[in-house]
C-alpha cells in the first residue's frame, strides 16, 4: 500500500463530496479512522451542522460470539437527525457490516431524509448490499481475509494507510 497516499486520497474525497454539500448536510464519522477523516472533511468542506460520531460496538452483529468491544466510545449525534442529509464517513469499506450497524444506530436517533456513505478506500470483500456514494480509491483486487487495512494518524495529524497481517 506504499503507493497509496492517504493525504491525497483525502483531498480527492473532499472534492467528490463538495458539489453535493447543502445546508442540511451533516457528517457522521465512524470510530476511530472514520471519525478522523470526518473531522478533516468537516473542516475542509465548511459543513455548518456540527460533526457527529458513532461507535457501532453496541450494534455489531458479532456481539453474541465475540462479546463487547473493549471500552466502547460514546456515540454523539449533536444535530437533529430528522430530515437531515447525513453522510456516514469511514476510512475503509470492507464487508459492509460496520455500515449496516451504523445505519441502524443512526435511525435510533430519528429519520434522516437521506444517508450516503463516504470512504477513503474500498478494499472489496462485501458481504452485504452496501456501496459507497463517495470513494477515493478502489483496490484493483480485493485484500485477503487475514489482511487488515486501516487509517493511521501521526502526531502531526498527517494521515497514512497501514496494511497489517493478522496472525
Amino acid at each position: 500500500m506504499k503507493d497509496l497516499d492517504a493525504e491525497a486520497l483525502c483531498r480527492q474525497l473532499a472534492e467528490q463530496i463538495r458539489p453535493h454539500v447543502c445546508p442540511a448536510t451533516a457528517l457522521v464519522g465512524i470510530y476511530t479512522g472514520g471519525l478522523w477523516l470526518a473531522e478533516r472533511l468537516h473542516a475542509e468542506l465548511g459543513i455548518a451542522q456540527p460533526l457527529g460520531a458513532i461507535d457501532v460496538s453496541f450494534y455489531r452483529d458479532d456481539y453474541a460470539s465475540k462479546g463487547l468491544h473493549a471500552s466502547p466510545k460514546k456515540t454523539e449525534i449533536p444535530f437533529d437527525v430528522d430530515g437531515a442529509h447525513v453522510i456516514l464517513v469511514d476510512d475503509v469499506l470492507y464487508t459492509g457490516r460496520t455500515t449496516r450497524a451504523a445505519l441502524n444506530e443512526l435511525f435510533d436517533f430519528g429519520r434522516p431524509a437521506r444517508v450516503e456513505l463516504a470512504v477513503l478506500v474500498d478494499r472489496g470483500g462485501r458481504e452485504l448490499p452496501v456501496a459507497a456514494r463517495y470513494c477515493a480509491h478502489t483496490l484493483a483486487a480485493p485484500l485477503a481475509r487475514e489482511q487488515n487495512l486501516e487509517l493511521q494518524r501521526d502526531e502531526a495529524g498527517q494521515f497514512g494507510l497501514k496494511l497489517t497481517q493478522r496472525a
Binding site: Y59, Y63, L68, S71, K74, T75, E76, D108, F109
Partner: protein, 319 residues
C-alpha cells in the same frame, strides 16, 4: 478455590461481589458504562445487544426500586424481562431456591438478576449452574443479605469517578449502619481495589462489624473527626428496626450524633460530594438541606445506575 464469578480465562461470568474482583475488571465495567449514559437521550432508547435474550428478575426480597432499574437496563438492551417476586415465606414452605432456578432454566433463561435476604444466595445459584453445566446462564447479584450489592457499589464508583476523576488521591467516608449494609461492603471492596488511599467508616460501635478494619478501612466513632478533609461522603440508610435490636436508642439521638447536617458537612473539603444509595430517611441519617443541596449527587447516582447495569448485563450477555 476459584473465584466463582470468573470463568477459566479470568473473565466475568457472573457478577456476585466486588470483593476480590480485579481492578482491571472494575475499570472495564466503568469504562463500558460511559457510552451507555448517552442512550437515555436518544429518540429510541434501545440497543440491540440482548435482543432475543431472557432476563429473569428473581426477587426473593421486595424492592421495587432496584428491580425497576434492572428492568429498565435490560429493556434498553432489548432483552425480554420477566419479573418474579417470590415471597420468601411461601418459598420456605414449598419449592427450594435451586428448584426454582432449575424450573426457570427450563424456560430458557439467559440471565438471572437475584435479590435475596440471605447472604450468599446468588453465589449458591451460580455454583449450582456451574455444577450442572449451564455455563451459558449468568447471574447478577442485585443484593444478598448483608453480603454484597455489586451494581450499587459500581454505580457509586462511577459517580465518584465522574465528579472526582481520579481515585488515587481521595479520602472517602462511609457513614452509618455498616454492620447491616451490603452496599457498604461493596463500596469498601471497590474503593480499596481502585486505590483510594483512605477509606473511613463512621458510626457507633453497635453498627460497625467486628474487625471491619481488616477490610482496609479506618474506623471513626466521632463523625466530626471522621468527616475532616474528606472528598466524598457516602451515607447509608438506617432501618427503623435497628431500634428494636437494642443497637440504637432512638432515631433522634442517631440524627443528633451521626446525621449529616450542613454544619457537619462543612468539615469535609469544600468541594466534597454527598452520596446516598436511597431510599433516604430525611431527618434520620441526612438533613433535607444536605440531601437537596449543591453538594448532593444523589440523583446522578440513579441515572448512572442504569448505565452501569446495562454495562454489566451487556458484558455478561454475550458469553
Amino acid at each position: 478455590m476459584r473465584n466463582p464469578q470468573l470463568n477459566q480465562h479470568g473473565e466475568l461470568q457472573h457478577l456476585l461481589t466486588l470483593d476480590g474482583l480485579p481492578r482491571d475488571i472494575l475499570n472495564a465495567i466503568l469504562d463500558t458504562a460511559a457510552p451507555f449514559t448517552e442512550v437515555a437521550e436518544r429518540e429510541v432508547k434501545k440497543l440491540p445487544l440482548l435482543r432475543g435474550k431472557s432476563v429473569f428478575n428473581l426477587f426473593f426480597e421486595n424492592s421495587t426500586r432496584t428491580r425497576t432499574t434492572f428492568e429498565i437496563a435490560a429493556k434498553r438492551l432489548s432483552a425480554d424481562v420477566v419479573n418474579l417476586n417470590i415471597n420468601t415465606s411461601s418459598a420456605a414452605k414449598g419449592e427450594s431456591l435451586l428448584d426454582t432456578v432449575d424450573n426457570l432454566c427450563a424456560m430458557q433463561a439467559d440471565m438471572f438478576v437475584v435479590r435475596h435476604a440471605a447472604s450468599g444466595a446468588p453465589m449458591l445459584i451460580a455454583q449450582h449452574l456451574q455444577n450442572t453445566g449451564r455455563d451459558h446462564i449468568h447471574v447478577v447479584n442485585a443484593g444478598d443479605g448483608r453480603h454484597a450489592h455489586p451494581t450499587q457499589g459500581l454505580l457509586d464508583m462511577y459517580t465518584i469517578r465522574h465528579f472526582k476523576r481520579d481515585f488515587t488521591n481521595l479520602t472517602v467516608a462511609i457513614v452509618g449502619d455498616v454492620l447491616h449494609s451490603r452496599v457498604a461492603r461493596s463500596q469498601i471492596a471497590a474503593l480499596t481495589t481502585l486505590g483510594v488511599p483512605e477509606v473511613r467508616v463512621i458510626g457507633p460501635k453497635t453498627l460497625l462489624p467486628t474487625e471491619v478494619e481488616r477490610l482496609g478501612v479506618r474506623v471513626f466513632h466521632d463523625m466530626r473527626e471522621g468527616l475532616k478533609g474528606v472528598d466524598v461522603v457516602m451515607m447509608l440508610r438506617l432501618q427503623n428496626e435497628r431500634m428494636n435490636g437494642a443497637l440504637l436508642p432512638t432515631p433522634q439521638e442517631y440524627y443528633k450524633i451521626w446525621g449529616l447536617t450542613a454544619e457537619k458537612l462543612a468539615l469535609a473539603k469544600p468541594d466534597a460530594i454527598v452520596m446516598h444509595p436511597g431510599p433516604m430517611n430525611r431527618g434520620v441519617e441526612i438533613d433535607s438541606a444536605v440531601a437537596d443541596g449543591a453538594q448532593a449527587v444523589i440523583l446522578p447516582q440513579v441515572t448512572f445506575g442504569i448505565a452501569v447495569r446495562m454495562a454489566v448485563m451487556s458484558m455478561l450477555g454475550s458469553r
